[in-house]
Subunit: 229 residues, 2 copies
Amino acid sequence: MAKKIACDCENCDLQALFYDSVMANELEAICYQKAEKGFKKGERIIQAGDQIQEFIYLKKGLVKLYKTTDDVEQIISIAKPLDFVSMLSIFSGNNYNYSVSAIEDSITCNLEFDLINDLIKTNGTFAKSVLKRMSLISDKIILDNLAIRRKHLKGRVAFVLLYFADTIYFSDEFELPISRREVAEFIGMTTENVIRTLSEFRKDEIIKINGKIIEIVDKQKLKNISSYG
Amino acid sequence: MAKKIACDCENCDLQALFYDSVMANELEAICYQKAEKGFKKGERIIQAGDQIQEFIYLKKGLVKLYKTTDDVEQIISIAKPLDFVSMLSIFSGNNYNYSVSAIEDSITCNLEFDLINDLIKTNGTFAKSVLKRMSLISDKIILDNLAIRRKHLKGRVAFVLLYFADTIYFSDEFELPISRREVAEFIGMTTENVIRTLSEFRKDEIIKINGKIIEIVDKQKLKNISSYG
DNA sequence: CGCGGCTTTGATGTTCATCAAGTAAAGTGG
DNA sequence: CCACTTTACTTGATGAACATCAAAGCCGCG
């Protein structure tokens, strides 16, 4: 279960970026009442439908943003710290529209939502920085979704592999943090076809597979497939 | 070409909602420097890549939000007044990420972007209302896209017809404001299959077709198809 | 009045989902 | 810690859904 962990605002990577606009005295108030929570891989951080009471952002880890309809799960985005996924719809209404789960051990920093609301009202610079961040998140999700939509099965799988290599792990060898089924839920194809495509890439010596460990061998070819060449 | 038209802030439907939070003296300044522009059906309002200099919102009409990649056009959303589509990515960077074109004769109200920025910084209530609106737009786009993704060809076409009937025209008989090709670009299928599906709905007496005029005859059946029954 | 774009229908082939069946891995209770 | 159960992974065969190609009629516009 999610448990509170020690506070260390001073060392938080997000501090500079997030509180850029916040005055010292405000920052103190925020730091004082914030709560950090740890989540193990697989644990749910936000459940769609829940009432919004906290302003949650990712301090460390990796999460998936998704929605479940009639037992069908659709992954909307994979987000890392600074993507502030929880921000996405919290100003729309009183309840979350999406679920968020940790796909790697993660730490969130939680603030009373009212506090953030007050801050937005009283601190224009902060409001603007929240606006910008929300805008960036939306853009990323919409553009990624459009990019995926344009591609066929192979291009979509290639896209996901490049996504993890280039924007999450910054390495051509990494452990895939999600299952084949989740890849399928992300790109809108079936699990079997994701597996088939990965096997094909392996046979064509574009990647090496060892369970969850993926190594990209021929990156240029993978890029070509992703761009649909 | 887009031309300036007479100013009538007093009668603007958007005024109450948009300027809810704006003080009288601020409102005056805004009204004074705003510019309204008219666009004929088919005219482009925003070109992806253009520099963002104005804060544009739809006063009247209907527009499509889209993106062109390698000569392939993908429609992201169909928006009516109060959807404030132009707001979507204007806080992300200096240039538009998406294009917007009128699909019906439309009127926009344009404000200097700097003015809005100042307002956000000085008026917290306004900032919060912009945040809320942006959040609603993102949610709508993301949720609609997820809904479409879940469906097969017939369900997607049904979804689009119900979308126009229930959220745009509030009537079961309407003139489709976009071409068959654009419907295809919206739902991610081919023009031919959109046409085939419409013909099938006609043969099954679910709708009547007269060129661009569509009449929904058996709405319940259309809803079932949309929900994928 | 002819040209180009939009619409329509048919024929064909590709892509992908579904079904089936088996192996490997991971979690669970005695 | 091991038998047991469940979940994830994998491959193949089949059929359905959809794209592509082709051809022709229609409409609006210069």
